[in-house]
Symmetry: C2
Subunit: 893 residues, 2 copies
């Protein structure tokens, strides 16, 4: 016989806190607390397996369930000494959801279940408080009516409001027992009127109705959306907890509250919470009455004149403080607890790991290690790497009012405020004039880099989480809201239209890149702090992680930031980003638009000094750390002039006929530039381009060696290789230029030549490619594009719908698709290392900064990950966690 | 000790005709003939392994070679009774290349080697003909000077021309012994003047010089290009044949000629050839003298007054006729032979399988089977499937003069002639007016279909072998020259500029789609013939092949053509091609540009009758044969209106605001449409589109069932699937619509639902996808694009260079890339069949009509291939050959 029910209460429990998957978080912890001897109202948990049975079998239950529920209910009756449905001494229960992961407010709850026209009288008699009894009954009807029967709660609120109006009072507390009695009747009548059937009086019916409603709520829309947003699989299911009711609203010696074992905002080791005298739990959450501080210290710190629980109910507070210590010591983590005091007796209703800010998380982790409560390894595993982001970017003051005028994707975290500029050049000009600027574009292109750098933040109306704007913004640490589709930008008019409102260039807006919100006007921000705990934890992480962490950077600023954040090298220096400076783009265009090799060489000769200078600066910052330089990768048309003025400027600089230049520019347009003449194909068709780049790299190495005495070891990376032949041809080119520079500069050069594995064919042919390649770097952005046949730039129109329909569990451009792209990475790793056992393997796609993907990289046996500078601390922590997890990762399939 | 040398002659030989790879074709057949006892001048072959050693080791030979050559030479001396370098009785030899595959004229040859200032006197004495001796010497100096020493042959021709001028004669035959003597001296002086060293007199030096030159010629440019064009691997190498000289120029009882055992043009079983009295072999080839017919019958048929060999040298002719019979019986194939008669003695210098037209190939094969010479299986394997194409399209008269004004890619075979039209609408109008038209476009798009159909042929200036124009043209059987980059089209002026010449709309051009040539004016064409042998051979092929052969077709014309050519079903019906008719495109555009589902449904309702009618027609033609219908696949922007007039027309038809329509059209533009919102993504985002298509399919099935009594079993194909989830969602849609139609029409529907495997991820996840999918069709066009990260449309700019540099051995869009794309096909096949053992597997990319790819499909275990209608016979034959090859295919890697 399957065990569908786990009982708890009376100092014992069937389950424990390790059974979270089966009992849900709430159920597991109720069992654990009960077994610890803490005062937990007795009850039982219907497991998540019941939920899966329910949703998987047309909303029906396992056969054995009814009997097991009846037995468990009887056990509760025995502990409490009351009887479910008993007119004289009725047992009342709550029915609550409780899933493996916290899904606050997403699913349904029913309280005071077991009340009916008879038992309410028993409750009145037993409690000696008729008003309480009928207030409880009306609350039950209201919740049950709404949650189980589908009678919208506004129906009930209307009745309640009318009753207060009739009596000319403002507060619920002004209503007496008779009023509640009358309201109960009206509520029941309303239910009958709406449903054509009376409100159920049989407590059994009530119970099964509530259980079904809670299980059903697992599949309601908001729960589904919440799960998608929080990566919670639908097959986890929810448990249902049926628990005897306790009441915090039975007079002055009754109370209810929530508390944290430490301050969840700052991490300070101080008891922290709120409570209400004579109230039910929902009143605290609902915010109808202002809750009071738990401790005197809190009251003082908050300048509150309200009496603390410490003063008001000192015995209960002392008992609660004991529970606090006991639970924190037991769970070895900061706890978030719910309690009720019923007529002088403390009951614990819930405990769970408390949500906390990144700052608090670090402080708590470090202090708990100092206190010997947890090990360093445990501390490392406690912190959500993504949460660290909070510490790295300015954020909006959460208490400040927001006038949200549009929403987009939270593309790069942090907040920024400034005047609207609709072009990169305006952004630069306005910044020079001393203004703070938000660059607003339909979408950005590499030519906007200058403006993006000048701006405080970037807002685009098109593109996804991995659009150009998003990637570059994250790399720069600039907040970015991308793909805000509500907004229509009219460049010509210099306006944007959103939700019927026209906003002009120069007006001030604020963007919240962590939430994807756009606000009119300025919203107050809070500056980031780098506190000592952060450094301590990072040190610990570094001591356990096995994966190296590098950064994707090409500017000195980015490189310096990344080194500050602990990057151990550059995993991806995209040389093309160096060409967009106005002084250079003209020569780049000359090069591209030259009709022959001589013309290209002439233009490349002008670019060489710039590129050499770029590498020199970068090498000086990185010193002896490895720097992977990717040779020119994007399609040439990204660099093409668009305006007549630009075309003419190029023609003039090159001494060429403008008409010819125009014709050549047109001939370079491609239908699918991603799949066109780019990457190593450029290197093969026009070797002189890569020759110039290699020369710049090696001459910079020589320069830094001579002037600074640093031994720089660049790793030259050939992009978009699909076959060993391509790689070998260009490998030879790299070696040739290196030999030339080595000879002319009289410097020994220490370098490696490798490739990006970013095409499915490269992954499949990795064995051959590794014969020549000394390292692979997985370019998982492009590999995802080609494996899925899915353009990052064009996926915005359906990616969201795909996630909603569960076709993609996660955005494959954010978290690596292990089942498809991941298999190619594994194949390439296996084949590459079979050929060359010491093959160095890294990842340099956006995934390099994503914790789930980092776990995959650990498990796949990679040597390092590379990510944008602001992701480096996240990657360091995630790598440590991956190492601690022993590289065990469940393959999504 | 390695055997580097294989001797032949004197009725014996070290090698035989099976040793083609080692000895080359010529060497292997000389050995075979010698062993057969035919009169072959003795000699020896340096193997292809010597060549590989030579090219792989800095042009050096194996150590043992010199000794083996000396021994072999001595053996020849013993047979002939003459001595190499002997002043009194010199042995003279020829040095000729001979590779595994025929490469006519690509490599070098030296004749009369062994002559010097001394031996020439011996030759004069031995032959009793001083004129002959010095003529031979000067020929040797000239060839050796040109081929081995690099002294251009024009130097020698100038001297010869001056000598004739001085003597005031026109013909070489007017020069006497003294003249040749003087010319020999002048030739040698010229060599010394050019090289600064005297002409080599030592026969040993001459021999090694010639051997080196022939091996070296394997790597000359024209040989490399020829190999690339004919898919001959560079590592095959060439052999070198050193053979004692015989002379056809020793008087009236001497002759030389080439002959075929059957007529290579018609296949008729009649001796066929040409000869010259008193001439060396090169004279026949060089065309200096008009060769004479071999037989009396030939002379009569050709109205030649020249005496045939049959009349002139009846004994020699009889002997040659014996050789003809012996060789054909021995080789069981039509032979192409070279012979020389020296003073009344016949010598055989070469035999090989003769090149023949497709018509001849079929006739010979069928007749040889009838004669019991070869089996049906052998006959099947003899025919080059691609050669069948000659029989399916009109071709240019090879004897007609051509004024080639541009070259492009031979994109669709056959020839066509017509007036230039620069737009599809012009092409249609001109055709209606009774003109024949060649449609000339920079590139074509689906909207040009009407014009392409109307035109006799298509010429584009951009795009490759698999560009839209090329694919569609092949599908239609229209000749096409694609990517003729010399041509600049100016649509506005209505002109094209090529090689400095301006050609106007309406002028007549001819295109040769088999050779990629564009000619001014009309060139005479020859019409295709479908002779009985063709049908016989196809029947035999069908009896042995295991792969099914279907066609890619969507128009009734194409379907009917394919059925006529033997297609066993439709493997790919691209429904989108049905939407380009002007009556439909407007509704298609309405649908695309509708702002919401209602708008789309309204437009789709207008499209439904058209689509149903399309399918009805198709099903009527195909009867009970399977028809795979692919639901809408391409990005919607392919259908977008471009001109203002079109936009306004759509707005009017839809009753929408033109500005909104324009905005929506703009919003549908994608950066990489290949990787955007297309295929099943459309079906998921806008289910109503696929619903309409499924309804049209199933209603057509019901209609044909009711009216014609045919049981049509459509196979509904969902394109661009990357995950099982996508497939399952749409599978459900198909089933739902089928159930609705089945119920409303009262007809049982028999159909399958499957998918295209055209993304790497689909191949990897095939196991899951096959849980729902009942068939896979490998869409190897897109699979190649995504595996390589290579757009077909954009690959033109570098694909050619890639082939030249041997990065791609073959165009991966023409012949499947077994090492990459092929591995994905194998993975998908294995995983798909593991889930669903009976999974039906086909291929519907362009590769389905490519013989090498068909071999791969056989080996990979596919059930059928699908190709354009005009490829069906080719695929049938290739499939038979693949089956006979036992599915054994060497994997290129």
């Amino acid at each position: 016989m399957n065990k569908w029910i786990y009982a708890f209460g009376g100092g014992a429990a069937d389950g424990n806190s390790d059974m979270r998957n089966l009992l849900g978080g709430k159920g597991a912890n109720l069992a654990e607390m009960s077994a610890l001897g803490l005062p937990v109202p007795p009850g039982f948990t219907l497991t998540t397996e019941v939920c899966n049975h329910y949703t998987g079998n047309g909303d029906s239950y396992p056969d054995e369930l009814a009997g097991q529920v009846a037995d468990a209910l009887q056990a509760v009756e025995n502990i409490i000494g009351a009887k479910f449905g008993d007119a004289a001494n009725p047992l009342l229960v709550s029915v609550r959801s409780g899933s493996r992961a916290s899904m606050p407010g997403m699913m349904d709850t029913v309280l005071n279940l077991g009340l009916n026209d008879e038992t309410v009288k028993g409750l009145a008699a037993a409690s000696g408080d008729e008003r309480f009894a009928y207030d409880s009954y009306r609350r039950f009807i209201q919740m049950y009516g709404d949650v189980v029967l589908g009678v919208g709660h506004h129906h009930f609120e209307d009745i309640l409001a009318l009753a207060k109006e009739d009596k000319d009072v403002a507060l619920d507390t002004d209503l007496d027992a008779d009023d509640w009695k009358a309201i109960c009747t009206e509520f029941k009548d309303k239910v009958e009127a709406e449903l054509g059937a009376p409100f159920p009086q049989d407590p059994e019916d009530q119970l099964w109705g509530a259980i079904g409603a809670v299980f059903g709520s697992w599949m309601n829309d908001r729960a589904i959306i919440y799960r998608r947003l929080h990566d919670i699989p639908g097959d986890w299911g929810t448990a249902v907890n049926v628990q005897s009711m306790v009441f915090g609203n039975m007079g002055d010696q009754s109370a209810t509250g929530v508390c944290f074992t430490r301050n969840p905002s700052t991490g300070e080791n101080a008891f922290y919470g709120e409570y209400l005298i004579n109230a039910q739990g929902e009143d605290v959450v609902a915010g109808i009455r202002t809750p009071m501080p738990l401790t005197i210290a809190e009251a003082e710190a908050g300048h509150s004149r309200l009496p603390s629980m410490e003063e008001n109910l000192p015995e209960m507070f002392a008992e609660l403080s004991n529970v606090r210590e006991k639970l924190e010591r037991h769970y070895k983590d900061m706890q978030d607890m719910e309690f009720t005091v019923q007529e002088g007796k403390l009951w614990m209703l819930q405990t769970r790991g408390g949500k906390r800010t990144a700052k608090a998380a670090l402080k708590i982790a470090v202090e708990m290690v100092a206190d010997g409560l947890v090990s360093r390894e445990e501390a490392i595993q406690r912190i959500d790497p993504l949460q660290l982001d909070q510490l790295l970017h300015p954020t909006l003051d959460p208490d400040a009012p927001r006038h949200v005028v549009a929403k987009g994707l939270p593309a790069s975290p942090g907040a920024a405020c400034g005047r609207i500029a609709f072009s990169a050049s305006d952004a630069e000009a306005m910044t020079e004039a001393g203004d703070k600027v938000i660059l607003v574009r339909i979408e950005t292109s590499p030519e906007d880099i200058g403006g993006m750098h000048a701006a405080e933040g970037i807002l685009t109306t098109r593109g996804g989480m991995t659009s150009h704007a998003a990637v570059v913004a994250r790399g720069m640490g600039r907040p970015c809201v991308a793909g805000a589709g509500d907004i229509r930008v009219d460049y010509r008019a210099g306006t944007m239209l959103t939700r019927g409102q026209t906003i002009n260039a120069g007006e001030i807006i604020t963007i919240d890149g962590s939430r994807g919100e756009v606000m009119l006007g300025e919203v107050k921000t809070i500056n980031p702090e780098m506190i000592g705990d952060f450094g301590t934890l990072m040190e610990w992480a570094d001591s356990v992680r096995e994966l190296g962490v590098r950064t994707n950077a090409e500017t000195p600023e980015d490189a310096a930031t990344a080194v500050k954040f602990g990057a151990e090298g550059i995993g991806l220096c995209r040389t093309e980003h160096m060409f967009f400076d106005p002084a250079r783009i003209i020569h780049m265009r000359e090069m591209i638009l030259a009709g022959d090799e001589d013309g290209r060489r002439a233009a490349l000769a002008k670019l060489l000094p710039y590129q050499r200078e770029d590498f020199t600066e970068l090498f000086r910052i990185m010193k002896s750390l490895p720097v992977t330089v990717r040779l020119l990768d994007p399609p040439l048309n990204e660099f093409l002039p668009t305006s007549d003025a630009e075309l003419n400027a190029v023609a003039e600089a090159a001494g060429a006929d403008p008409l010819e230049v125009r014709a050549r520019a047109a001939s370079l347009q491609e239908s699918n530039p991603m799949l066109g003449l780019r990457g190593c194909r450029l290197g093969i068709m026009h070797p002189e381009i890569y020759e110039m780049q290699c020369r710049a790299i090696f001459e910079a190495v020589a320069l830094v060696a001579k002037e600074d005495g640093e031994t720089v070891s660049p790793e030259v990376m050939i992009p978009l290789v699909s076959s060993a032949q391509e790689f070998d041809i260009l490998h030879e080119l790299v070696d040739r230029v290196a030999a030339e520079v080595s000879a002319s500069e009289g410097v020994e050069l220490d370098y490696m030549t490798g490739t990006m594995i970013e095409l499915p064919r490269a992954a499949l042919r990795a064995g051959e490619i590794a014969e020549g390649a000394e390292f692979f770097s997985y370019g998982t952005n492009d590999l995802t594009q080609t494996t899925f046949g899915l353009s990052r730039d064009d996926s915005g129109s359906f990616l969201d719908a795909y996630q909603q329909q569960n076709i993609f569990e996660k955005d494959p451009f954010v978290t690596i698709d292990q089942a498809g792209v991941g298999e190619l990475v594994r194949i390439a790793t296996e084949r590459g290392r079979a050929t060359r056992p010491g093959l160095k393997l890294g990842i340099c796609g956006e995934h390099g900064g994503d914790p789930a993907s980092i776990h995959f990289c650990q498990e796949a046996g990679l040597d390092y990950v590379s990510c944008s500078p602001y992701r480096v601390p996240i990657a360091r922590l995630a790598a440590a966690q991956a190492a601690l997890a022993g590289g065990k990762v469940v393959v999504d399939a």
